[in-house]
Symmetry: C2
Subunit: 609 residues, 2 copies
């Protein structure tokens, strides 16, 4: 089944779902029922009836009956006025509204309406699809008949505002998934189950990584000691890659006069997402920074610069703030206080290619370390949005970016309209172990801000020139990266990231064992390893279970035998084992700790024991 067929099948299933609902609840009013990734949904409204997942078996049964009847999908057209009559007669109020908008604007997308206003002509004719007694306003395509659909399952129900607007009536959205084969369907359902178990919010709680407080507010995570270790390891790694390449750390305040963003052009762009800060002592109009580039430009501007000083590469792990509706917040993937591993390079035109390529290589290295494959997106401007700068400047910037992608022999795809307002960029899409895609790193070229801020350098010929700015981030938002990474590894962190690398379990409280454990503590502290001692008065099997639940890389039981022989039998977390002989390998305490230390320093992905 090719993609078009799969699309048509999922679309047909949306109609079959709607047919079933019409038979079960004749009062039902239909919103829209599109195809989505892996399946479809339909938005519906039934007066005095709140559907729940308990209703799914009955609905699915009815859908299977309709499939068995092998009803033909018949397409026909009506004029827009005939169609409105049909909607009116059938009391399909939502369809009627869509038709009215279509008639007026020629589109039903709020976004498109905003752009086109009444410039385009309205629609004159619309198409319908009919199967059995069910008729729907629909562009198609569909399968030829209901009997052609393969495997499907209803999976979820949720609230959805009509046309995505919280001011409108709330409908119910019924989600289904559909695949060609039973196997694909089961695989998909299994991976969903796994995703649920790997949900970073759940793991964050179970592994004690972060927390939220109602007193502090939504979208504002607090990182516990364990979560803070992960943050720091990730951020130190990202910083280290750049420090080795001549980047320098800087430090800026999180608030600023809004004037800074008037000059940069961000104020228009970020509008509602800005947190406004009110000084009670002065008349300053302050904001929480949504971006760091303007601040960094002010450090550049603090001294006279010469071509000999360039490139200047600033690096800073700092927080930006973007306001979000509370409803959008949950876990670490969408927060209001966002820590970025941000960098800004100020360079000459001649240096652009080298600098971008350096960052490109760092990004590749970093995501290889995390075993996250990357897709490359070249994000360009489109004709609809507002951008700063001339076409010539944009064309040059785009060429530079394409050149570096090609040097690195990477495939890429183009996304028009995804550029920043100051220039085109390369975005990196990480694909996680559950095959989900996440936008992660970015490299952005900017010929505009240096001019707006009047940044200059003295060129070799004595003339004044504007430097070029290159914005980049490797992890992007560390909170978002953590949400991805925690789920990607299912909480099973490699030694260098693991908040607790080793847990020693005391088999008993004998003097010998106690003394040995004291020695362990000294050695562990000297090496700077992250190890804990479990000296609770409980069974060893319970201790092992507890340590396993915390997904600790190494678990080591210390009893009289271990003390006598100084031979330990570390239990290595399964995913860290490459070679079966690593199981039950005995090793002295000193060697064991040395191995773990080296794994930490080298950021090893596997156990070296």
């Amino acid at each position: 089944m090719n993609d078009d067929k799969l699309y048509a099948m999922r679309h047909s299933l949306a109609h079959i779902l709607a047919s079933a609902l019409q038979q079960l609840y004749p009062e039902v009013k239909f919103g829209v029922g599109p195809v989505i990734e892996n399946g479809f949904y339909y938005d519906v409204y039934i007066k005095n009836k709140n559907l729940s997942e308990k209703d799914f078996p009955a609905i699915e049964k009815k859908m299977h009956e309709i499939i068995k009847e092998n009803q033909q999908f018949i397409k026909y057209t009506k004029t827009i006025n005939e169609a409105m009559d049909w909607a009116h007669q059938n009391d399909q109020v939502f369809k009627l509204e869509l038709l009215e908008i279509l008639k007026k604007y020629g589109t039903t997308s709020y976004k498109d309406i905003k752009v086109t206003k009444e410039a385009t002509t309205g629609v004159q004719e619309v198409s319908f699809y009919k199967n059995g007694d069910f008729i729907d306003l629909c562009k198609g395509p569909h399968l030829s008949s209901t009997g052609k659909v393969k495997e499907f399952k209803l999976v979820k129900i949720s609230g959805a505002y009509w046309r995505g607007d919280a001011k409108n009536k709330q409908l119910q959205r019924i989600y289904g998934v559909a695949f060609e084969t039973k196997e694909e369907l089961l695989n998909y359902l299994k991976s969903q189950e796994e995703a649920k178990n790997n949900d970073h919010r759940r793991l964050g709680r179970e592994l004690d990584l972060f927390t939220f407080s109602n007193l502090v507010g939504s979208g504002l995570p607090l990182f516990t000691p364990r979560g803070t270790i992960i943050r720091e390891e990730l951020l130190n790694y990202s910083a280290q890659l750049r420090l080795e390449k001549g980047f320098q750390k800087v430090f800026i305040p999180h608030i600023t006069r809004d004037e800074l963003y008037k000059v940069s052009g961000h104020l228009d762009k970020f509008g509602d997402e800005l947190f406004l800060v009110r000084s009670q002592e002065t008349k300053d109009r302050l904001v929480l920074k949504p971006m760091n580039c303007p601040h960094h430009s002010q450090i550049y501007a603090s001294r006279q610069r010469s071509y000999r000083d360039l490139p200047i590469r600033y690096l800073e792990t700092t927080t930006v703030y973007r306001d979000e509706k509370s409803g959008e917040l949950g876990g670490l993937n969408r927060v209001r206080s966002i820590t970025q591993d941000d960098s800004h390079i100020f360079c000459t035109e001649d240096q652009i290619e080298y600098e971008i390529n350096q960052i490109f290589l760092m990004i590749k290295e970093l995501y290889e370390q995390f075993d996250i494959p990357l897709k490359v997106r070249l994000s360009l401007k489109n004709d609809q949005k507002k951008y700063l700068g001339t076409d010539e400047v944009w064309r040059r910037a785009q060429e530079e970016l394409e050149k570096v992608i090609n040097i690195n022999k990477m495939n890429y795809f183009v996304a028009e309209g995804e550029a920043t307002f100051y220039g085109p960029k390369i975005d990196f899409i990480g694909v996680d172990s559950l095959d989900r895609e996440h936008q992660v790193a970015t490299i952005q070229l900017d010929f505009i801000q240096p001019i707006r801020f009047g940044l200059e350098y003295d060129n070799i010929d004595g003339s004044k020139r504007n430097p070029i700015m290159i914005h980049s981030a490797l992890l992007g938002s560390v909170e978002r990266f953590m949400s991805i990474y925690i789920e990607h590894v299912g909480g099973k962190f490699p030694v260098w990231v693991a908040p607790e690398q080793i847990r020693f379990l005391m088999l008993n409280q004998s003097k010998e064992v106690q003394k040995y454990v004291k020695n362990i503590e000294t050695q562990v502290a000297k090496l700077g390893l992250r190890a804990e001692i479990d000296d609770e008065n409980s069974s060893i099997s319970k201790k092992i279970r507890n340590a396993e639940l915390m997904k600790i890389p190494y678990i080591v039981v210390i009893g009289n035998d271990e003390v006598k022989t100084n031979k330990l039998l570390p239990r290595i977390r399964k995913d860290l084992i490459l070679n079966i002989s690593q199981n039950n390998k005995s090793i002295s305490l000193e060697d064991f700790l040395k191995h773990v230390k080296n794994e930490h320093i080298n950021r090893s992905k596997q156990s070296t024991i």
Copy 2:
């Protein structure tokens, strides 16, 4: 001359200054003229005349005449009404206002008026002092006659609002300094000159450590790469001391719902100093955090805690925000975005003494490292302000703090009214190389917030108990500490703090020298040292001068001789030399770098070459 005598002399000089002004400018209206550290001032208003430092010689001349005349200081009293008549007749409007307030409130301090309201009885009688033709409302004391005063100098003039209120008229404040001997006066003036040269704002600019931007706003410093290195070295040192003692890093957002501070009790306390944050997307009432303890309490509260888990020690280098009137801002000593090396310990009552003592020892170690002697202040509550908690709780807390000070055999002084609203504290006052005192570290005991936040732990007997909180900071505000430290060392940082530890100066551009310098760069990078190469096309003497201006610990010239013999002659910054034989000592590149590396690791105060 004892302190009382010195006080009387400075006070008498204020009157002599006023006498001189009255003779020179008969129109002059007098505000107040108190004694201050090292001298005195008088606030005056002269219609249509703006005094400047150019007028000082004439004023000083007149003062010397008055001193020569050896006028008696004669004290007498008037009833408050007589005094008001006097002020009225002499058109001394400010004195009249003071007398009116005195009559009503019995005090002229805004603060005291607020507290006492009209509860106390007004003053019935006031004292005056007369010398020559000059009469002043004054409590005394004074010397017996003007001839008794010793050495003085007028030093500064500045604007000052009447009674410190920006809504009032602006007067001119003339500052003078006075000492018993010429030598003391000259020493003081010299140290002032030195302070000017060591001014951290000046050094910050010259050594390229930080900058301000009008677009970003006042009180919001931006740290350049060099300044950021100093920040990080200081903060890493402070964190390291605590990590070694079982503290754990955490990370919290900088904004919060104001509800958090309602519960903690900070909202009342900080009032005007709070930056209010407005969300445009939600109805959340947010603020920028002025304190970290409530956030940390929420991390504690995120899990059930047992007595076995205590003490829990959180450590975080993070920023708090305190709004300030723009006029108060300047340099790093008073900023609106304050980075604290903050810690909070949650412990049982039995653990208090051990925990406080641990912090005490760390503070002593840290300030010894910086060669900053400490004075210890025990800050207690007084009867005027509002505090949380019972007297019994406060008594216990005070005892704990005194016990630890005594264990450490430190002298201390008591300051009533300097406690926080939640408990007493030990404050540490650092004395810098110019003998100025600065409040730096702090240890605060808190029995209150854990109760307000409902923090608990399961005690050994199964009961629920509230932990005790201990707040502490070693550096305090790192911005403020930097302002102190930069001036304390006059920008001459030890190797471990210095942004640039070594500068290599190329004597020529020969192939040999270039190759040798390449090797230097590789070795320096491997060791993680902070070194720069000066390869400019200028004279070696100019290069040396430039490097000396940057106060770099080691300056090394690389010419053909050095390349041939691999013997370097490092120029060591004078203050780092202990032994004269360190001058002109030749050393191989490898040994030299090893020495510097070790000095960095060991935080050596002196050169080990």
